[in-house]
């Protein structure tokens, strides 16, 4: 079974849990962009051999938004795969906290897990907290995670300026590009467009 879920957060507090049985595949896209405070907890359990999940989180924080995303990738069966990418762009005094854990249980041999959090700060008053954790209880696995936080690349802005593009427009292009690298992981074109539209409404 193969499925794609686009989940746009509209409530302040949400708890989502997905259980993936044998050979099932899920792509979950989480979008938090409606300038609200949000506290989202996502749990994915890979309980059947060969199950695989792809989680994409896209966050835009504005004003004094306080956004928290907590994810759990729990590998309970062998040969399971999970990929996670959470990208946040923060304006104004927005606060974003990402907490995530990959847990590979004893019997989940030959699993492959990935977790990445990238944050782009567009204001000096924005705050980021990133806690990407790993708990690996067996050895025959591939498991990697990463986290980066920074501001817009000055070289790229300068390049665009040298081509006559105003700084505000250039910044917008770079932010689009920042999200686009995550959207590119979705294969369905219609869904891609839908996600871009949701993001555009907020920008």
């Amino acid at each position: 079974m193969k499925s794609l879920i686009i989940h746009e957060t509209k409530k302040e507090k949400e708890s989502l849990e997905y259980i993936l049985k044998k050979n099932s595949q899920l792509t979950l896209v989480l979008v938090v962009s409606k300038a609200i405070d949000a506290d989202i907890h996502v749990v994915v359990r890979l309980t059947g051999r060969g199950a695989s999940v792809n989680v994409i989180g896209l966050v835009i924080g504005r004003g004094d938004n306080k956004i928290t995303i907590h994810t759990e990738q729990i590998h309970e069966a062998p040969e399971t795969t999970s990929n996670l990418l959470v990208k946040a762009v923060l304006f104004d005094e927005a606060e974003f906290a990402y907490g995530g854990i990959i847990r590979i249980e004893k019997n989940a041999q030959k699993s492959d897990a990935y977790q990445k959090n990238e944050n782009l700060l567009l204001s000096g008053d924005a705050h980021v907290r990133s806690d990407p954790a790993l708990e690996i209880l067996t050895n025959d696995v591939r498991c990697t995670h990463g986290s980066t936080t920074g501001k817009l690349n000055e070289d790229q802005l300068w390049y665009l300026a040298s081509r006559g593009i105003a700084r505000s427009v250039a910044a917008q292009l770079l932010v689009d590009g920042f999200f686009e690298s995550a959207i590119a992981k979705i294969s369905d074109t219609i869904s891609k467009e839908k996600i871009r539209r949701i993001l555009w409404e907020t920008m």
Binding site: K106, Q109, N119, L121, L122, S123, G124, D125, A126, H127, V128, R129, S130, D131, P132, A133, L134, E135, I136, L137, T138, N139, D140, V141, R142, C143, T144, H145, G146, S147, T148, T149, G150, K151
Partner: protein, 459 residues
């Protein structure tokens, strides 16, 4: 051969003074009185004791519940007077040191030896050239006696007793450790070295080290531990405070190989001022549980902190180690590299913090954690935390967890190298980037220890 422990020998206990078992105000006052301390230090100890009682045990990290604070000797002094010549040491103590090779090392590499047998530094020799430069290298008790003003100014200034429960414990019962003072502009070319041993059943060791590097100075301090085996649990809880002044550089290297029943709970922190550089090189082998997170507080512009660590956990061991970099000034940089190895059901955890305060513009931090799991029963955790309250920064963290590559193993075996040897070659290659930062004799010893541990896994 699960308990292959190279230095598994014990000397009969022959102590001059041993405080009564357990901890109360009387014990602390007794320690202070025996050392003829000034009132401020006695007050400091008693205040810390009250904080120790108030503070709860940390709820994160390893399992600390088996520690029975009422079943520990908090102070033992092995000999009454200090000696500065090797020949003057009691034969028994000399013999212990011969077995871990200190005199040899001293002849070849060291500019000063401060060997801690139990709670006090008993043997000390300082290169005359160092003394001439004005470098002070004393045990902490002598430092307090001879340089009370400097000690009073800095003692507890980087790690206040209330920092955590074990810092409070150390502050109330501390004994031994080193006091190092490097004057303005002085470069100490050879590493200063101190060895620590625990040799009494149920004895805690609470050494306290204070290093002050004045403007533009440089020092490399090396500390190594090999402790004998015990039947009951031992507690080691040290505090190391380092002050790196403007443009100074301090490197602090530790190789610890506690026996498998020691709780090693250490607080290490450095305050780094403008353009100062602090480097922690930390190797953790052995012990039952180690909780240690060397920290750098970057307070001045362009201050830099570097933390390199290796952790090895075998059967029944938990290494909960990591690093902390706190950026408080502009253009500060930090780099953390952690390598961990788990085998035979051992558990290694990386626990770290990178924090950037508002105003620490153009700060950069990079954290790389690599973990190697040698069998199905072992475990590896990574718990990094990043708190960023400044926009103009570059913060990166990455971690990987893997096993020994089948291809690498196959290649080496195809060249006629046995499996065990191939595995230890791969493990030694894995930690090589950090081992090459160690002084030569430590690098050799570490490689040998890893090899010993790996061989233990076959038998």
């Amino acid at each position: 051969m699960q308990n292959t422990y190279k230095y598994n020998f014990r000397k009969p206990e022959n102590y001059v003074f041993k405080s009564k078992i357990g901890l109360d105000q009387g014990v602390v006052e007794n320690i202070s009185a025996r050392k003829n301390e000034l009132p401020w230090m006695r007050q400091f100890r008693l205040r810390a004791l009250r904080q120790f009682y108030r503070k709860p045990l940390p709820e994160w990290g390893g399992d600390l519940n088996p520690i029975n604070f009422d079943n520990i000797f908090y102070y033992i002094s092995p000999t009454d007077k200090k000696v500065s010549r090797w020949e003057d040491l009691p034969e028994e103590i000399r013999d212990t040191y011969d077995r871990i090779g200190i005199p040899e090392a001293e002849k070849k590499f060291l500019s000063g030896v401060s060997a801690q047998y139990e709670s006090e530094v008993v043997y000390k020799s300082i290169n005359a050239a160092l003394q001439k430069k004005g470098v002070v290298f004393l045990d902490m008790d002598s430092g307090l006696r001879e340089y009370p003003q400097i000690v009073k100014q800095y003692f507890g200034s980087v790690i206040p007793p209330g920092d955590n429960k074990f810092a409070a414990l150390n502050s109330s019962v501390w004994s031994g450790g080193s006091f190092v003072y490097v004057p303005v502009g002085v470069h100490v070319d050879l590493p200063l070295q101190a060895y620590f041993r625990i040799n009494a059943a149920n004895m805690g060791q609470f050494e306290r080290t204070l290093i002050i590097a004045e403007e533009g100075s440089f020092i490399h301090y090396v500390e190594g531990c090999t402790a004998p085996m015990y039947t009951t649990d031992s507690l080691h809880s040290a505090v190391v405070e380092i002050i790196v002044k403007k443009g100074a550089r301090v490197r602090y290297t530790t190789i610890q190989n506690w026996s498998n029943n020691v709780y090693n709970l250490v607080t290490k922190r450095a305050r780094v001022e403008e353009e100062g550089v602090m480097e922690w090189v930390d190797g953790n082998l052995g012990s039952k549980l180690t909780m240690k997170y060397p920290s750098v507080y970057l307070l001045g512009r362009k201050a830099r902190g570097e933390i390199l660590s290796i952790a090895y956990a075998g059967a029944g061991q938990h290494q909960d180690v990591g690093a902390k970099a706190v950026h408080l000034a502009p253009e500060t940089t930090s780099r953390i590299i952690s390598k961990s190895i788990s085998r035979g059901g051992g558990r290694t955890s990386y626990r770290g913090l990178v924090q950037v305060y508002p105003g620490a513009t153009k700060s950069k931090s990079k954290v790389v954690c690599d973990a190697l799991l040698l069998d199905e029963a072992s475990r590896s955790d990574t718990y990094p935390t990043m708190k960023i309250d400044e926009q103009d920064v570059t913060i990166e963290h990455e971690a990987t967890v893997s096993k020994i590559g089948d291809e690498q193993l196959f290649y080496l075996q195809s060249r006629g190298i046995g499996k065990t040897q191939a595995e230890s070659m791969i493990v030694n290659g894995f930690i090589e980037p950090i081992v090459k930062e160690l002084p030569l004799e430590y690098a050799v010893e570490l490689n040998r220890l890893i090899q010993l541990q790996m061989e233990g896994s076959v038998g």
